[in-house]
Point group: C2
Chain length 164, copies 2
């Protein structure tokens, strides 16, 4: 491959993560587009959540997916426009929007699921030669969660300062 970012080792990792993440994202979009499916990447997560839980609010979804709530608002607006999700205001707490899957969504789910299954298979294939990947990736996530890049780097700066 002769990849400059790979040569950079630790320096290039952030960009490589973004590159892979973007590549998967765009490729998924293209897949759905080329197959004429009117869904987008990530929607599967919300479909799954709303199937499992029947009804959820914006905040609940954003907490579950660890997305910011405006991100969820945007996704849900698109899904509403496509007729896959309906909202109604909670009568007990009028701040809350109750989200549910529409009849159309339920009808299309079996088709979507074919694609999600194939996609899951793809991820399994990609990981086939990397048996420790998921486990080690989780460790990194946990570390970042515990103390983020900024904090760690500031710490390293302090500690590496020459002590006159």
């Amino acid at each position: 491959m002769n990849d400059f970012l790979t040569e950079m080792e630790f320096v290039g990792l952030t960009s490589r993560l973004k590159r892979l993440s973007d590549s998967l994202l765009y490729s998924t979009k293209e897949l759905y587009k080329s197959e004429g499916l009117d869904i987008e990447p990530n929607w599967n997560l919300i479909f799954i959540l709303l199937q499992e839980n029947e009804t959820m609010t914006i905040t609940e979804i954003s907490e579950t997916l660890q997305f910011s709530h405006p991100a969820v608002v945007k996704i849900i607006n698109k899904m509403k426009k496509n007729g896959h999700v309906e909202t109604r205001t909670d009568t007990k707490d009028k701040r809350k929007q109750i989200l549910t899957l529409t009849e159309k969504a339920h009808k299309q789910l079996p088709v979507f699921e074919k694609y999600w299954t194939a996609g899951r298979q793809t991820v399994m294939d990609l990981l086939a030669d990397s048996p420790n990947f998921l486990e080690e990736f989780l460790k990194i996530e946990e570390k970042v969660n515990q103390s983020d890049y900024k904090e760690r780097t500031l710490n390293n700066l302090k500690n590496d300062e020459p002590s006159y």
Copy 2:
């Protein structure tokens, strides 16, 4: 952590990659901002390239980093505005823009390098308990490079079709 995306295993991987990548990106931005450095994530890669090669063109950089060329144009424009990069038109081929680091950039490099070193240390720390990560990540990159998500998933769809 009790992370829905982690529970989803293969389904959630794409989102987790994006989440980690974004987290590193935003954290790096915050770091630079809080420390009053007028640089941004990724610029280090271009600084390194221009240090090594003295002069480069937009296209050369975009090929080396495997970014789209408009992405590089945007980054370079910002770096020009900040006075870190200068451009001049190639006299032999007037389509090309020759990029070089400015005097200001060279002067500030030692300061920047302190931060980049600390950042590299952070990545090393994050990877400390994941000894196979880089190696296995590379394998995934190579696989995606060889046949992307869309192609693989379409293939899986074909193969998994029931054969009546």
